[in-house]
Symmetry: C2
Subunit: 402 residues, 2 copies
């Protein structure tokens, strides 16, 4: 017998995706499955990107530049300048294969094996995967539904800093909680990073998705005063409905980080050429697109929030941004419930797929009665999903396996 | 001052790409640069793939499946069945973001940090990057131009096996040497792996590029007798002129490896959707395409080999496959020479870009007077490149900095 590596076991199955085989089975049996498990928006990709495919002329489809295609990097620079960050130069930009690769690169670049990164749970579950593959230890500080998953006091965070701590990683607006951190909270993290000489890594892929009167405080605003310590993760996936294009970026003013990250990028040659040339049209997307998308998500958020509040035994805090929320259900084990929804429950041949929340925590035992819901379906489908969920919970409570 | 991780320094700059800024500078100055540095074929991507772009209908461009899009996996299965490997099932296939990702995954899955993998140098330079990012120690066995870079005796290889050795990694046909290992050599590696319970990882992305009367011995032929130990790396890049599509695959019958690799894949969500749907047309590529491509490369190989043999002081062994060769030049430091070609030398406003070979060795000090040449240009451009190289070497020998 020959064994795979021990560390391979430390890579968790995705709670978003591990139930996929059951969903496929349900579909084979003729069921319609409403996907609230994954943040794969139904918003149409803007025409200007699709046109690049229809007008494609380059042949052969050759490798791109490791840092990113020059026209894409120029477009990204212009985009940030339009956002008010005109200090971002091409050399501060590394195009990555999704935000995923950007985070993996950031963890590898900031930490040696066994080093620690402080983060906040519930967290984006795939951080667990990137931490496993880069052999970084995530140190989770638990945040709570009752405070809308906002950050604890400075002293609580500082207490977790050890000699091995190299960075603080946070996601703002937050996936999976929907929390938008206040300027005060961001300022606090900046101060901690400054005082303890830590990297501050912020995943801002949902920057455009902020609702009501909330304001997003981007780490870009602190970059010039702390040029060596800030690493920003960004992505085309959600902003432009380009999830399948696998394109993101890592932005930093730290030269060593950027040089090192480029060397990692050279090893994997380039991001996809077609995706990059498509994305290089980003500045041609009309502002109205983002406004209508934000409006649409805010409306969906309202539908979901109001609907969930009405289901007996369900609790949640109102999401402020992104398109996720962590919801507490009246079940003991949400993973069993989520699987049962796919394998056993049908309402008029329909069911819903949710992501069990335990995988969004580092601390074992937490999130057992929670799920993450992504509100990426139109209001009508959301209402149907809410109805299915209510009926399913009723039925589940009457049967034995909970 | 805040420092990047120590391990970031261990990721080498790509010898294929690190001179790119000089090449860009040369082009800005109006020079034409013949790219013999990178295996980016000029062969046209078959029409059937490009048609997928022109007929693109899916909108939004959503995430694909983490394992790979079902139609692509079916097409890959059919492709292998056509090659005589009908035992390959969908669950044995993981679609990856280029062969690059497949190798990284294989190293992570086979080894814990600090474990060793025996390989043969000169080696594909990016193996050094993947080893650095997965914290695996590559143990290089040096092969020699005089034996056409073929493998040493079994005892030489076995002598390098330690308690930490987990795998043997080889590339067949070989990048950068062009060597096609004989059936006897492959059989020898299979026996060593069997006797010492090692994984045998083979990078077969150049499987279709074998010239003259040589036969390629694929590790697929040994998979059923050693189902737990073989991991095969494959790619669409070279076979279909789809380098920029960033698609490859990892194939193994080892269930633990495949489950673990799928978990890693879930973390990065999916490979590019457009690239995958394009590649799913692979079985529609006519056999005549491969025959003509192979004929074209064999002809180029001949042009390059004959041309290089005629340049005073240049030595090389005849490449048997892939589209690379390691060439010894009459210079002390090939990196300086390669840089000089881009910064200082022009022949009628033209120059050539080569990859310094030192980066294709693990053992420091080796390859200093060698370069890797990729014969991915048409015969006419190759002849021009040979002429430029000859004149450049003459001039370089007359000036001081060598």
């Amino acid at each position: 017998m020959i064994n795979a590596s021990v560390r391979l076991q430390s890579v968790p199955a995705s709670p978003i995706r591990k139930l996929v085989p059951f969903a496929m089975q349900a579909k084979k049996q003729g069921a319609k499955v409403y996907h609230l498990n994954i943040g794969d928006p139904d918003i149409k990709t803007p025409r200007v990107f699709i046109d690049v495919l229809h007008r494609w002329k380059k042949n052969p489809i050759a490798y791109g530049q490791s840092q990113g295609e020059p026209e894409l990097i120029e477009a990204i620079k212009l985009y940030y300048a339009q956002q008010g960050y005109s200090f971002i130069r091409p050399k501060d930009i590394q195009v990555t294969i999704g935000g995923s690769e950007a985070i993996s690169m950031a963890l590898f670049a900031a930490c040696d094996a066994g080093d620690e990164i402080i983060t906040f749970e519930p967290l984006y579950t795939n951080y667990n995967s990137y931490a496993a593959t880069t052999m970084v230890k995530l140190v989770p500080i638990t945040t709570d539904s009752q405070t809308g998953f906002h950050l604890p006091a400075k002293s609580v965070i500082e207490k977790r800093i050890t000699k091995k701590t190299k960075a603080i990683l946070f996601c703002n607006p937050n996936n999976p909680t929907g929390t938008v951190y206040t300027q005060k909270e961001v300022q606090m993290l900046v101060e901690i990073a400054k005082n303890h000489k830590l990297f501050l890594i912020c995943d801002e892929v949902y920057r455009d998705f902020v609702y009501d009167d909330k304001k997003h405080t981007s780490l870009f605003n602190y970059m010039e005063q702390m040029p060596e310590q800030i690493i920003i993760i960004d992505s085309f996936s959600k902003r432009y409905s380009l999830c399948g294009a696998r394109l993101g970026m890592l932005i930093s003013l730290n030269k060593d980080i950027m040089n090192g990250v480029l060397r990692i990028a050279q090893g994997r040659l380039s991001a996809g050429l077609i995706d990059q040339l498509m994305a290089s049209k980003l500045t041609q997307v009309p502002v109205a697109f983002f406004e209508s998308v934000r409006g649409e998500y805010q409306m969906r958020r309202n539908v979901l929030y109001m609907g969930l509040k009405k289901i007996a035994g369900v609790t949640l805090s109102k999401p402020e941004g992104a398109f996720y929320c962590i919801v507490t259900l009246p079940v003991n084990n949400s993973e069993n419930f989520c699987r049962w929804l796919l394998t056993d429950f049908r309402l008029n041949k329909e069911t819903v797929m949710l992501a069990p929340a335990a995988g969004f925590y580092r601390t074992s035992g937490l999130g057992q009665n929670q799920v993450r819901i992504a509100y990426v379906l139109n209001a009508n489908d959301l209402r149907k999903s809410l109805h299915i969920l209510r009926e399913a919970l009723k039925k589940y409570q009457t049967i034995s396996h909970q």
